[in-house]
């Protein structure tokens, strides 16, 4: 079962200079909310930003990670 900390580390490892904050919404290790601020997002639409974060986890989204709610920003 993934932890909020593990999700944060994986997003930071995959997206250069990302500032990441992950909350476990239910405490159950399967519903998370992530706020991700990354320089590379400035060239992306909102859809592309979310796809980029989802791509870090591949098929785990909808599997062990039942839900990953996202808020993304460039800056």
């Amino acid at each position: 079962m993934p932890s909020a900390e593990e999700l944060r580390e994986r997003i930071e490892a995959a997206i250069p200079d990302a500032r990441v904050d992950v909350t476990d919404l239910t405490g159950g290790g399967d519903h998370f909310r992530a706020k991700v601020v990354a320089p590379e997002f400035s060239a992306m639409s909102r859809i592309e930003q979310h796809r980029r974060v989802y791509s870090v986890f591949g098929a785990e989204i909808g599997g062990p990670i039942h839900a990953l709610s996202l808020e993304t920003r460039a800056e």
Partner: protein, 135 residues
């Protein structure tokens, strides 16, 4: 079977997306959403009073598989307007609050529409789970 390249479910999905100006793929129905994220998306759309088609992905897991393969989007709900993916619950509620959703849908937000996206159910609430204790 010689017709392995045909994919009737994917064709039905892309047909439905092309056919409806606004279409929401969700868990459950607008009247009875089966997931907090779907409920929240429905609430945002309903607050703008724009008619939309809705497809429940739960009856057949292949609908979700094919939809996600088609849209390159892993989660449900998914809102399409004019044949384009607008986003899931997070993007739809964010766009509701900035006014972009009304713009994309081509409607004026009703004067009584709440400024913040209406919360129909606790976001992130786990789906109903029924344990089969008879098995």
């Amino acid at each position: 079977m010689s017709e392995t390249t045909e994919n009737p479910i994917r064709e039905a999905i892309s047909g439905a997306i092309a056919e409806h100006e606004a279409i929401l793929f969700m868990k459950g129905t607008p009247e009875a959403p089966a997931c907090g994220f779907s409920a929240r998306t429905v609430a945002a759309l309903d607050a703008l009073g724009k008619p939309y088609a809705a497809v429940d992905v739960l009856p057949d897991p292949r609908i979700r598989q094919e939809l996600s393969a088609l849209s390159n989007w892993p989660t449900i709900p998914q809102l399409f307007v004019g044949g384009e993916l607008v986003g899931g619950c997070d993007i739809v509620t964010e766009m509701y609050e900035t006014g972009e959703l009304a713009q994309v849908l081509g409607v004026e937000a009703p004067s009584d529409a709440p400024a913040e996206a209406p919360v129909a159910a606790e976001p992130g609430a786990p789906p109903l789970q029924i344990d089969n204790k008879l098995a």
